[in-house]
Symmetry: C2
Subunit: 315 residues, 2 copies
């Protein structure tokens, strides 16, 4: 098939899947669930009337609801796709509607905090399998989603009791969406993502802010000459503000730990520049090139250069 | 024409253009000079025999030399395309061969240091117009270049006496390569590029190094889950180590100044996270989104999302 997702399942994996929060991730899940026959019925739930209108216009779901408790009635799989800080509130709102044996999951970029927020609200016979698809773009909202967003990406599951039947079903769902699945503890997830995602975002936001505040260099100069490297930071720094505020507030310890290491290392580099220690610079810059090569080798990136975005052909 | 570069000039702009150092930038210049008829004769000079062999195999030049003094004989335009720290040495090696009235330029990412290194070696009747094309990729060497690298990108000229006839000819050359040209002082250039290019590169190198040194998170985890944001830093941190060592050693003051501001701002963000100041985070993250929009509006980037690199189609 042209989308590279292969053909879908013969029978739906779940009967009634409820997606709560239809932004970039939620709407991408709705699209791939439909295309790969991961659910017989797709239910969308969003508190925003404008989002619900887009869901209907785009044909993303079979049913659309405002209230979580109504949306989840009769569901066998509920996925919270709201910002990390909103998960506890939504869990509380939906708990009355949950059927026995329902599997509840999420897509949050922080896991320990989601577990702490959500678990207390769930009935004893609900099965909680937190998940984090490591995929996204800098765009937000139901129109930004697409069915292949998760293809070839990793999805991390952090089930409280390790692997079990519910975990296997959630794994099958994400594999159906094209992802590779890995299981780890919430605490380890939060540490790994602090360095591979959270601190990189914080740094990108920070330098774009620093550049905006300069007096000697005009805003228009920063924008004009951004192709030198800055441009890539602005893409990351265009990510959803609410989502990222919640990530930093909810993964405080790991982010502060990784940020401390980053700052120490940066101070050492600053000193090398001040004292003209070219060898220290050269050695680091050589070492980092090898890591890039590994990322390309494991298929999380192509070798195609990306600075010269307008590359048209080779001479 | 399919490359979007338009048709070339009717008569060559220069008679004999010498490109000293045939890496990513030098080889891209050779390609576009040929395609757009910017030079009657293209001369390539490189101290590496392996590079000269590739130049011949790729058909990038009409003549190939090892020694700068031989290469530049009879030239009306000489462009140094070597790392910033090597410019002074090359200028000294080539000075004997320079013809009266020759225009000498470069492509260095730092300008004041290049002026200081090169100017003392030039004969009085040589015309020096330093240049910096703000374009590149993370790849290096003669095979990495392509004719459209400079298309739609800015090239900054820092002529010592402001605009004059020689500056106009260098401007025409870069406009012929598809670039927009801007003139400023070397000192201002170095400040602008410190924030739009040099500090972003240093930060990218630094975080990739920090991630490589962690004990709690394995290297393979960093590589696997890089799609969360880290991946974009690794691309920047794969840039040429020699070139970038020289940039930092030769733009020390501006880099240290901008790095100081960056670190101050990062400390403030760190404090906001520690104290749970969500509003401070949200306000910065909203402000930085607007800057991204401006970069797209002025044509230095497309709105196409780039995190989900494997995006195949929309559902």
């Amino acid at each position: 098939m042209p989308d590279g997702l292969g053909r879908g399942l013969d029978a739906p994996l779940f009967e009634r899947v409820v997606i709560i929060g239809v932004g970039l991730i939620g709407s991408s899940l709705a699209r791939v669930a439909r295309r790969k026959n991961l659910a017989r019925t797709i239910v969308a739930c969003d508190r925003s009337a404008a989002v619900r209108e887009r869901v209907v216009a785009l044909g993303l779901a079979d049913e659309t609801y405002e209230a979580p408790a109504e949306a989840v009635r009769g569901a066998d799989f509920v996925i919270l796709c709201v910002p990390v800080g909103a998960c506890g509130g939504v869990a509380e709102q939906m708990k009355e509607g949950l059927a026995p044996g329902v599997i509840v999951s999420d897509v949050g970029s922080v896991k320990q905090s989601v577990v702490n927020q959500v678990a207390p609200h769930l009935p004893e016979n609900a099965l909680f399998v937190p998940a984090h698809p490591v995929a996204g773009t800098e765009n937000s909202g139901p129109d930004a989603g697409f069915a292949t967003l998760f293809k070839g990406r990793w999805c991390i599951l952090t089930p409280p009791g390790g692997s079990d039947a519910a975990t296997d079903r959630v794994r099958a769902f994400w594999e159906g969406a094209g992802s590779n699945v890995e299981v780890m503890t919430p605490a380890h997830h939060d540490l790994v993502l602090a360095i591979t995602s959270h601190v990189p975002h914080l740094i990108a936001y920070n330098i774009v802010g620093t550049a905006a505040d300069l007096e000697e260099v005009t805003q228009s100069e920063v924008i004009k000459f951004s192709a030198g490297g800055f441009r890539d930071f602005t893409r990351i720094a265009a990510s959803d503000p609410t989502m990222w505020r919640d990530v930093f507030l909810n993964n405080k310890d790991a982010v502060l730990e990784m940020l401390g290491r980053f700052s120490e290392d940066l101070t050492a580099l600053q000193r090398a520049i001040r004292w003209g220690d070219g060898d220290a610079l050269f050695n680091l810059f050589t070492r980092t090139r090898a890591i890039r090569r590994s990322i390309i080798d494991v298929g999380q990136e192509t070798a195609e250069p990306d600075f010269g975005r307008r590359k048209v052909d080779e001479a």
